[in-house]
Amino acid sequence: MHCGNFQPKAVSRRQMLIGCANGFGALAFGVLNAGENPKNKMNPSGGLHHQAKAKNIIFLYMDGAPSQMDTFDPKPMLTKYHGESPDKLLKVLPTQFNSIGKILQSPWKFKQYGQSGIWVSDLFPHISKHVDELAVIKSAVSNFPEHTSANYFLHTGSGFQGRPSWGAWASYGLGSFNKTLPGFLVLNGGLIPPGGLDNFNSGFLPAAYQGSVFKYGPAPVANIKRKETSEKIQKDKLDLVNRLDRLNIQKNGVHDQIESAIANQETAFLMQSSIPDLMDIKTESKATQDLYGVNSPNDPTKIFGTQCLVARRLLERGARFIELTCPSVGSDRWDQHSNLKDGHQKNALAVDQPIAGLIQDLKAKGMLDSTLILWSGEFGRTPFAQGNDGRDHNPFGFTCWMAGGGVKGGTNYGATDDFGYHAIEGKAEIHDIHATMLHLLGIDHKKLTFRFGGRDMRLTDVHGEVISKILT
């Protein structure tokens, strides 16, 4: 429970501020964790309420909603009844476009992989090699069949604009490990999800917890690049600011707020170099780059591969929550209202190798155990066609998977009905996924609250159950 006033309490640096004549940027950073919520006391395990299994999260957001029955949830009945009218077989509910076609079989073959024998379609030749790391949840459900509402719901636990994104909640709860890196980062692969940047906002949480959208390149985030022509010019200027600030403090005394603001300026100064550095993947070996598909002839694979690699670098530098958005593949995002075969093929090609590379690399570096990976769209798709060769939105049952820290690899969890239309076993609501994610970070989702507008708000609202069966 917190009031709305967020001011990081600095350990007193009053004397340093007043007495220090070393100039701007000379104070070691690390004195103050600007993003951290001062009232949340971590326990030694790194968790807030209990032992944490994962330190950080990578969310691979599959924008547009991949089809469950074409990826991880094979349905022979679709083949059996292919081309027949769904009305006789199912109670067809209104869809976004309401252009209900025939039952549509998957254009892809499924095979079982690994020791666990998890089914994967031919869309993911690389990921399929790592199924024994995955817990595949085949029974995810959303509350909204429209992209924007479902995106807000997936990201914030509410179908409306204005709630804090889960990354914001995570960094509100745990802060960042790195004072010059925001706790919640979004690596923009090119597609900003419908609903816009508000999917990554801090809502009523203080602005500090907002997702910082990074674009790959030398100036990955807004205002990170100084406008001055040399570092010295900027530093001299900030030195002057610092001296004027100190004169003012000497005259008028010091306020906590002003102290913090001075510290923030120093942090900001350092971020100007630390953030572009971490984007620089040239220092990575050719083998590593190839593993991620950074040098792929397919541009979208290249983009997503680079993001995955940057994500790993961010993990190494202590980011708390990293979300990756998809690259544009030339046709639509995973939203195949028509041309399912072509669209899904292209979208899968873009992410398959990079994701596999990420899993493999994290594992090799011993980081997978402390990193939770989540792969998910905002909902699933219909077992019947939209028009002839597309699939419409379906929030009633879809597949997502988790891997890494605290997740029992090689697990199948939940099930949809014979056609993959509705989840009927082990229904996993978005709130449950949120609760599970927080749980792995050492947070009890019921206890992570923020008082706003008269209520103790939670990411999971009044819902959410940890899906314990997929946990180690």
């Binding site: 203080p206 990170i224 100084r226 001299d236 600011v241 300026q265 900001a268 009927i424 008269g454 209520r455």
Partner: protein, 1285 residues
């Protein structure tokens, strides 16, 4: 059977089941204990047992509770599993699916079914105590905030000179209790800076500060306050506080971030209201019922209706682009509105009661749905607020004028009709004779042969330049046409059609692609170019153009019809010139296609020319002779004959039969019977007896008359009434053929003023002021039918969904264009059971709607014949009867126009149609000179016409609808309805109800209840607390939006009530309240806490010193603009797009605005939900989703990054530096000026030293300009600039 019905029938079975249970045998007992009870325990008790939870009011752990059922009714009918709710729920066949996570196995479900079938045995047991509901309004009302305002005085004003007013006395009392003493007064420099930012959001100019420092008069500070309160910038600052409460935005967010049209008018309204110090209770009334106030507040100089703009706040929120479940979406949006209403005005979290009674406050769920009803009984509109009041006066005069002249007009009309009746046979005969003269032989007209430009039968576009992909590579084959286009109106096998896209063998039909076909130049050698044309009616976007010398000279657009029609271009004026034909499809939305075929040059006369040619052959003298012989007016005869000839040449014309009858003889005995090809009144009514009447405009209760302005007059037009059409300078007349809702042509020139924003998406432009709504109704089977004619856009407003665009709800908008009366049916079956109303909008005088029905897919019968059919039927009579019939009918019409009430609709409608026929053919003439009553009316109307304000900007507003009381949504689900929740005020505040005779929404009463401090102490308390919060940095109740149990307690309750009562006594004046607070010592203390204060009151609850404030993002930006000299003080108007960085991407991305926002104050920057200003967000400007009375105050590195690196900050630093350099060459003077401007004080000598040192150190590397821009930039990075002590 639905569960609702089931709940009613259950008690019968209930008795029998008990009986059955008592006779249970061991087998049943074992089955229950082995199969059924374990199932309940394992799968249900987690949420439905006394020891755990009682979700949905249901317990499943005792016999009595199982029999009782839950919120949604009884669980089962013993013996009838198939009809039992429980089986539907576990079978996942109901809205509720249990157990929620996984479906039971088939065998478990079978066990349950068998258990119910066998009588639902449950062993006898002792009753288990059921948890009682803990919701107790009276108990909860004991909270402090629900108590009436108490008149309190400070214990004593005392002799302490610190006490300047009661406010100080109250504060000092508390301070003393805590052993605190007030800090010393703030320095004057600090005080004036504080006051300026607090009141106008800008720093004082150096001259203001210097004058204040020199002013030693005791009321020096008061003068400053007065000046600031009078400044127009005051509204710009305080309106922003208010906009935070009503989650102001300029766009609707969601998928495509569509514009909220004219939202900025609300923003401007708030600015004006704060500047004019509109009494707060009035302001609140305007928000809730500004459209209903008996005397609206008008703009003092412009005369606009201000009050109505207040209601627009409801529509400033997020809207969903294309919700699949429109009712859920409505519930969600209303929830947001109730949340905003509750928090903003009352500081109450009413929306917490959506799913269950409030967890902490005395607000039952039923109260929530009572408020829901007020919203549901009101509709959205764009209002012509600027012209409303002025035109209301004109409208009143118009009504009076017409009423005063009505008796005379009726009598005049009756005379005219009698006169024609007498003369008709003579005219008829004369016309016939005249016609025979035209048949005299003349030299055969040498008709040149047509020149075919292209009929596309070659199957190729040879000779055409093809651009874009709309038209494909070749003309399309008629085989590939979409079914709806295969009406055979094309010629041959091939045609041009941009709806069809061929992708190899695959054919797709789409409006999306665009393109152009351009012909080779050709010589114009005939009088006309004719072609067949079908497709979209988008002006200039789906059309055929004629280009002469590269310029578009003639453009003909489709009519939103698939059937192709013959069109001609009159090209006589271009004879001999070179021209090209262009076929255009540049539209991607609905009807974004075009079809063209058979393009020719021709001399064949166009229908309009035929009569003139024929008449040209007649010797005028001979016609005059005929007229003389028949004793009729020769001019009228010429007119009559001209009309007949014209109609005769056009077989499709509605009066063609009539002309044939008079001019030719061939129709006599042609077999057409003299029966009207329609139905009688009785048959007509019989044909829709299986339907429900939504609105019958021939017999409408006045409460159901719902136009949004004056366009439709004050009532439907009565059958037989004479309507004035056309230009007022050359009026035309028409008898109303039915009693129906019709546009009043008087108002035809209404326009939306330039800069006003139309509705985005398919509702489009020019709608405001022309909308007629039907009463609301709940859709039954979803079929709605209406009987209408003319052109109109018909919007089915379902569940208050705002039609933005989108694939889902296309059938909610229908465009009609009908020459004659016809039924239109709309299939809304996917919206069954939802509340709905229709909105007709039109600017066509011929548009009329008579009847709106719902139910049953089959259309009712068409009523009796109208216009065309009258002519057709008359034509079938033999000559003598024909004249007699017309004479007789005209006499009947003469008496009909004098009557008030229409009895025989069929018959009288025929008479009116006949009257119109006679007007059209020129026989029925009305004297429009002012001598005669009708002429008098025309003249006086013309005069009134010039008083109308035709242009108006539009504002978001509410509009009255049919009063609806909503039912409680059980557990918040719109699919599970509970008891009715009649509209009323909060139960805990007296629960006032609407009077029985109430019509409409009842919002006016709601506004009265809410602003009555006897019943509602919240309104003044919440507002003075907000003012206190903004001035002192912390509310007396710190949780400014929540005065409920979870909110914070007031630190100074007596002071709060004192201020609230003063506020009311001061006429709810915000400015007076502000001034009182600012004149107190407590506002004027310095921000340096004493050591005692630091230990005894670290949060400064007791106000012994001022709280340091951080400037809002808006103020930082505005102050920079002021200081750099770049502030553009223009007030009001459309928002300026914000400057977007490369990182701000996504659907609906608007054009990026200028870096400096055109120098406008931040309140005028656009607030697009999906593209919020990252500058402002970083400084905690709220995301506009619900009420935010207290912004969070973060202090983070990203703010520093903005101040260090944002291009706007750099730009302004440079602008400022340039001005400084130009003003003086002397560094010390420059620095002095800059410190005064940025910090309202002179630089100290040490500061000067630092700055000079910096300047000289950087002299080697930087130019003068660069150095001074750096100084400017530095001063904005100094913490003192942003943090106000």
């Amino acid at each position: 059977m639905s569960w609702k019905v089931f709940a009613l029938v259950f008690p019968l079975f209930f008795i029998s089941s008990i009986h059955h249970v008592s006779g249970a045998d061991q087998k049943e007992h074992d089955f229950f204990e082995n199969k059924i009870r374990p199932l309940f325990v394992t799968y249900c008790h987690e949420c439905h047992s006394v020891s755990k939870k009682q979700r949905g009011g249901l317990l499943l752990d005792s016999k009595s509770s199982v029999l009782k059922g839950g919120d949604t009714g009884h669980l089962f009918i013993a013996g009838k599993p198939d009809e039992s709710l429980l089986m539907k729920v576990v079978g996942y066949n109901d809205e509720i699916k249990m157990p929620p996570k996984s479906k039971l196995s088939a065998s478990q479900i079978e066990d349950l079914s068998k258990w119910i079938k066998d009588g639902a045995y449950w062993p006898s047991e002792n009753t288990v105590a059921v948890k009682t509901n803990t919701f107790n309004i009276d108990e909860r009302k004991k909270q402090w905030a629900w108590q009436p305002l108490s008149k309190s005085k400070p214990k004593s004003l005392g002799s302490n000179p610190w006490i300047k007013s009661s406010i100080d006395a109250f504060v000092l009392e508390k301070m003393t209790e805590k052993n605190l003493v007030p800090a010393s007064p703030a320095q004057k420099e600090a005080l004036i800076r504080r006051a300026y930012f607090d009141l106008i959001g800008l720093p004082p100019l150096p001259a203001d500060t210097k004058a204040f420092l020199l002013d030693n008069s005791p009321n020096a500070f008061e003068k400053i306050i007065n000046k600031l309160l009078d400044s127009s910038s005051f509204g710009e600052k305080w309106a922003r506080h208010w906009l935070d409460l009503v989650r102001y935005g300029d766009s609707r967010g969601h998928e495509f971030d569509a514009t909220i049209p004219n939202a900025f008018q609300y923003r401007d309204y708030v600015i004006r209201a704060f500047n004019n110090d509109v009494p707060y209770d009035q302001f609140v009334k305007e928000h809730l019922a500004g459209d209903l106030l008996p005397i609206p507040r008008v703009h003092p100089t412009e005369g606009w209706n201000e009050s109505i703009l207040g209601t627009g706040f409801l529509y400033l929120g997020e809207e969903v682009h294309s919700p699949v479940d429109i009712r859920l979406d409505q519930a969600d949006r209303f929830d947001n509105r109730i949340d905003v209403i509750g928090k903003t005005f009352l500081g109450l979290t009413i929306a917490c009661a959506r799913c269950h009674d409030h967890k902490f406050d005395p607000i039952p769920t039923k109260d929530y749905y009572s408020l829901f009803g007020f919203l549901e009984s009101s509709h959205y509109r764009l209002v012509r607020f600027q012209s409303l009041e002025k035109n209301k006066k004109v409208d009143q005069k118009l009504v009076e004028l017409r009423a005063s002249l009505e008796p005379q007009i009726k009598s005049e009309l009756s005379d005219v009709l009698k006169n024609i009746a007498a003369n008709f046979p003579a005219y008829s005969k004369a016309a016939n004779l005249g016609y025979n003269l035209t048949k005299a032989p003349s030299a055969p007209n040498s008709v040149s042969q047509d020149i075919l430009l292209d009929d596309f039968e070659s199957g190729s576009f040879k000779g055409w330049k093809v651009e874009g992909n709309a038209f494909g590579a070749t003309p399309v084959s008629s085989n590939d046409l979409a079914p709806e286009q295969k009406d055979g109106s094309f010629q041959g096998k091939f045609l041009v059609n941009s709806y069809i896209q061929k992708n190899g063998q695959k054919i797709v039909h789409s409006d999306r692609p665009i393109g152009t076909l351009t012909s080779l130049p050709f010589l114009i050698e005939r009088n006309y170019i004719s072609f067949l044309l079908g497709g979209g009616g988008h002006l200039g976007k789906t059309c055929v153009n004629l280009l002469v010398d590269g310029k578009i000279e003639i453009s003909i657009t489709g009519k939103n019809k698939n059937a192709m029609e013959l069109n001609s271009m009159d090209v006589r004026r271009f004879a001999g010139k070179k021209a090209t034909i262009q076929i255009v499809d540049q539209e991607t939305i609905g009807w974004g296609h075009i079809a063209v075929d058979a393009i020719k040059q021709t001399n064949s006369v166009m229908p309009n020319d035929a009569p003139l040619l024929a008449l040209g052959k007649i010797n005028k003298n001979e016609l005059e002779k005929i007229a003389l012989a028949e004793k009729i007016d020769p001019t009228t005869l010429v007119q009559f004959l001209t009309y007949l000839l014209k109609v005769d040449a056009d077989p499709k014309h509605q009066d063609n039969f009539f002309a044939k009858k008079i001019l030719h003889s061939e129709l006599r005995g042609s077999g057409i019977k003299r029966t009207m090809p329609g139905v009688s009144d009785l048959e007509f009514k019989e044909s829709f007896k299986n339907k429900k009447i939504i609105a019958d405009y021939s017999n409408l209760p006045s409460s159901d008359w719902m136009p949004d302005d004056f366009s439709y007059g004050h009532a439907p037009v009565r059958l037989g009434a004479l309507r004035l059409l056309g230009d007022n300078s050359s009026p035309k007349f028409q008898f109303a053929e039915y009693s129906a809702a019709m546009i009043d042509p008087f108002w035809k020139d209404l326009k939306h003023a330039k800069g006003s924003e139309p509705e985005p998406g398919s509702l489009g432009a020019n709608r405001a002021g022309r909308v007629l709504s039907t009463p609301s109704f709940y859709l039954e089977d979803g079929w709605v039918h209406f009987l209408a004619k003319g052109k109109a856009k018909v919007y089915s407003s379902v569940g208050a969904h705002l039609m933005i665009a989108g694939p889902l709800h296309g059938n909610l908008v229908r465009i009609i264009d009908m020459n004659d009366w016809g039924w239109v049916s709309i299939d809304l079956s996917r919206y069954k059971n939802l509340p709905a109303h229709l909105e007709f909008s039109s600017d066509d005088f011929n548009f009329a709607v008579r009847l709106v029905l719902q139910g049953g897919q089959d259309k009712p019968l068409l009523p009796i014949p109208s216009y065309e059919n009258v002519a057709r039927a008359l034509a079938a009579l033999d000559d003598q009867l024909f004249s007699q019939e017309i004479q007789k009918s005209l006499l009947e019409l003469a008496s009909l126009v004098k009557l008030e009430k229409v009895v025989d609709i069929s018959k009288n409608s025929t008479l009116a149609a006949l009257g119109n026929l006679l007007i059209n053919c020129g026989l029925l003439k009305i004297d429009t000179t002012a001598k005669q009553p009708i002429g008098n009316l025309v003249e006086k109307q013309n005069k009134l016409h010039s008083e109308v304000l035709w242009d108006s900007q539009l504002g978001l507003a509410l509009k009255e609808g049919t009063g609806i009381d909503e039912k409680v949504f059980i557990r918040g689900s719109h699919k599970i309805l509970g008891e009715a929740a009649p509209r009323s005020f909060l139960t805990a505040l007296g629960g006032a109800k609407l009077p029985k005779e109430n019509i409409g929404s009842g919002r006016l009463q709601l506004a009265e209840w809410m602003t009555n401090i006897q019943t509602d102490p919240f309104l003044p308390r919440v507002m003075v607390n907000r003012i206190w919060h903004h001035l002192l940095g912390r509310g007396i109740v710190a949780s400014v939006d929540n005065f409920g149990l979870l909110g914070e307690k007031p630190t100074h309750p007596e002071l709060l009530d004192f201020l609230a009562l003063q506020f009311v006594e001061d006429g709810w004046s915000v400015k007076k309240t502000i001034k009182k607070i600012m004149l107190s010592s407590v506002y004027q203390t310095s921000s340096s806490p004493s050591d005692i204060a630091k230990t005894n009151d670290p949060e400064n609850l007791f106000l012994s010193h001022a709280t340091i404030k951080r400037l809002s993002g808006e103020s930082i930006r505005d102050a920079m603009l002021l200081i750099s000299g770049e502030l553009n003080e223009t007030m009001f108007g459309p928002p300026v797009n914000i400057n977007l960085s490369a990182f701000q991407e996504g659907r609906g991305r608007p054009a990026s605005g200028p870096l400096d926002g055109a120098g406008r104050r931040s309140i005028y920057l656009s607030v697009r939900r999906n593209f919020l200003s990252s500058f402002l967000l970083a400084f905690d400007s709220p995301i506009p989703f619900s009420t935010v009375g207290k912004r969070s105050l973060s202090n983070v590195p990203s703010q520093a990054l903005i101040l260090m690196n944002d291009p706007f900050v750099h730009q302004q630093s440079e602008k400022w530096a340039k001005k400084i350099i130009a003003q003086s060459a002397e560094p010390l003077i420059r620095l002095d000026t800059m410190f005064w401007q940025a910090l309202n004080r002179p630089p100290s000598s040490l500061e000067l030293e630092e700055c000079l040192a910096y300047l000289s150190a950087s002299a080697a590397t930087a130019s003068d300009f660069e150095k001074w821009a750096s100084i400017a930039h530095s001063l904005w990075n100094v913490k003192e600039f942003v943090w106000i002590p």
